[in-house]
Symmetry: C2
């Protein structure tokens, strides 16, 4: 394969705080410098969440705007991907930063359980987020927490609902959602290769599964996420 | 295979009304007679929902009690399975009929999208329903709307959370959840055969997919649901 592997760096996420790891960048200034280091080390996509001063997650478009401005300055050419994930806001708040026209934004197309609650992505919100991304020419990265999410992403892309090239991320190892399972991973890859051969895909393992899933993805010719 | 195929009849469901099909049994009396006919025709399990007088779904334990009493009289030996599905009630209401000690009850162990909303089965409710079933010695039928639900069912059964023998139903063809997909069906069967060889499994196709999925299940040595 001469297809280069794209490394996406998730610098902050929505959950960990400095109590978990002092290296987690929380302020916009910390986030810009952390991304800059990853960019110098070879990361091509920055997957971004923003935080309040008390480290809790937010979807505040003004904070995202300052982050995007700094990333464009410090990391010229890096692909900027903003999270529309449900831990950082509710309903349409989750897409309030899309008018910033980032290169990419994450998009969940189905619902599933998380460790202690339901990760809710109701069909009408999915449709609205996808339409907003189309309006602002933002390419979604589909966060697939289960097999049906991959099939739904392929269907939505075929229907023209999703802007740009289809790009799917397999998320594995979240408690009560899909575990980091090698046989399932291989099936996911087969589905992508046979049903959406033009699409890109990457994989992320949560917590202790990170390195294993990164290795599976790179060996199988996919892309990867820290 | 000398393993007989078990046919489960879903006489009423939670959605269709007499406007959709005049044959849908709504009153308890209609339900008992409809089940009796299916029992005579060879059905071994009755999957039961109950309805209010206006045909809307309910989880009313008193109504379930009258249905169970009638089924025991008219269909001696038939396995009675009561629905704890989320269309008929919210939260713990969904398990209010478990003290009736039916042979089986349906149990969802994950969340997913339905045509217009999220089908919410939060982890604490799943744990509570499973514990109630264990207390009242009710064998769950796991309603698997996605692949991770099957893996979760196998895990919960290994952990002793689920009462009785593991029995999984693959539900296919609900809009925004898992479609009726032959390759996915075959993968589901392989997962069950290799990871839970002692378990039983069946499959249901929703609406126009019903007959196709029934045929796949029977041909693959599984059980089936109308
Ligand atoms: Zn994220
Ligand atoms: Zn810098
Ligand atoms: Zn049902
Ligand atoms: Zn009768």
């Amino acid at each position: 394969m001469t297809n280069p592997c794209i490394i996406c760096v998730a610098i902050t996420g929505s959950v960990p705080t400095k109590a978990n790891n002092p290296a987690v960048p929380i302020t916009v200034t910390e986030q810009i410098e952390s991304t800059h280091e990853a960019f110098e080390a070879g990361a091509a996509i920055a997957h971004c969440h923003v935080r309040n001063d008390d480290q809790t997650p937010t979807s505040d478009p003004e904070k995202f705007a300052r982050l995007v401005e700094g990333l464009k300055k410090h990391c010229p050419g890096m692909i900027i991907q903003l999270s529309t994930g449900g831990r950082s806001g509710a309903g349409k708040e989750r897409g309030g930063m899309l008018p910033l026209r980032p290169d990419m934004a994450s998009l969940s197309v189905g619902s599933n359980n998380f460790p202690t609650r339901v990760y809710e992505n109701p069909p009408d919100l999915v449709d609205w987020l996808a339409a907003e991304m189309r309006t602002h020419e933002v390419t979604p990265e589909i966060e697939a927490f289960d097999l049906s999410h991959i099939l739904q992403a392929i269907r939505l892309h075929e229907q023209g609902v999703l802007y740009g090239k289809l790009y799917v991320q397999f998320v594995m190892g979240v408690k009560n959602a899909m575990p980091a399972d090698r046989e399932v991973f291989d099936f996911y890859v087969r589905i992508m290769q046979t049903r959406a051969p033009q699409a890109g895909w990457c994989a992320a393992g949560i917590g202790p599964n990170q390195i294993a899933v990164n290795e599976w993805a790179i060996a199988a010719g996919g892309h990867t996420r820290t």
